[in-house]
Symmetry: C2
């Protein structure tokens, strides 16, 4: 099994909404937890747990990675965060509000975010032929980007 214990996504377009959602569930809003959320809301790309730890490690002292993992897990349960896997590397985390799906180049490692609708046609084709509901949210669509194909890099 590949899927984590995830609840439904919570609407939280802005950081404050997310903070409110944490409180609403009766959870404590610790500095460490808030910093993790901030890191993800400020990031413009998916972040590994290590990267989150680096950014969350602020004046209040750097959060250690165990706490970061625990927070990411809890926030994922709350539906504020989600993660996915890109090959060998560490898991990557984004705020749940970002519903984009990903294309991962096997050759250069570039991760490209695309709107879900942009893959609907491919999804429909796979569904028709295999009854399989493809989604590239918890794992990217792998392949080769245009650049690597041109370069003959791969």
């Amino acid at each position: 099994v590949t899927e984590p214990h995830t609840g439904p996504t919570v609407e939280a377009p802005r950081l404050e909404d997310a903070l409110a959602a944490v409180r609403a569930r009766g959870l404590r809003l610790s500095a460490a937890r808030q910093l993790v959320l901030e890191a993800l809301y400020e990031a413009d790309a998916p972040l590994s747990a290590d990267e989150v730890a680096a950014r969350a490690g602020g004046p209040d002292g750097p959060s250690d990675s165990a706490s970061v993992y625990r927070n990411l897990e809890k926030l994922e349960e709350l539906g504020l965060v989600r993660h996915f896997h890109a090959g060998h590397g560490p898991g990557l985390y984004v705020r749940a509000g970002d519903a984009r799906e990903y294309l991962l180049c096997d050759s250069c490692g570039t991760l490209t975010a695309v709107e879900p609708s942009a893959l609907d046609e491919a999804r429909a084709s796979i569904l028709r032929r295999h009854g399989f509901h493809a989604r590239f949210t918890h794992m990217p669509a792998p392949g080769l980007c245009a650049d690597c194909v041109e370069d003959g890099t791969a």
Copy 2:
């Protein structure tokens, strides 16, 4: 980067062809190496390194995993073996001659092999819209299988 140091695939429909290919490259055909190849040629599904080690561990004594990994790597360089990643778990290895691509259910973990042509339509759609050449050989197409969708398991 997600892709390993891989050469072009070598034609080796049968085990003996693979053994010959190893010799042809001037590499030594040790018992351990031959057993790794046998395991993959006899397997009817992708095998983790551990599973290969288990099956390769025969009368000549069980190969230790370090050697198995080194052999898998070398055989992959030769184009006789390839591997892919399915979420959290360990890497999975198959003989390179098996060109099938995979669908991985995020919910129940079922891995389904399909003929490459069966995904050509989806591939074409993604290529058209993003110039991205999707292939599900080094990483499966993730999603939900029909059963899990019906059951509402996910």
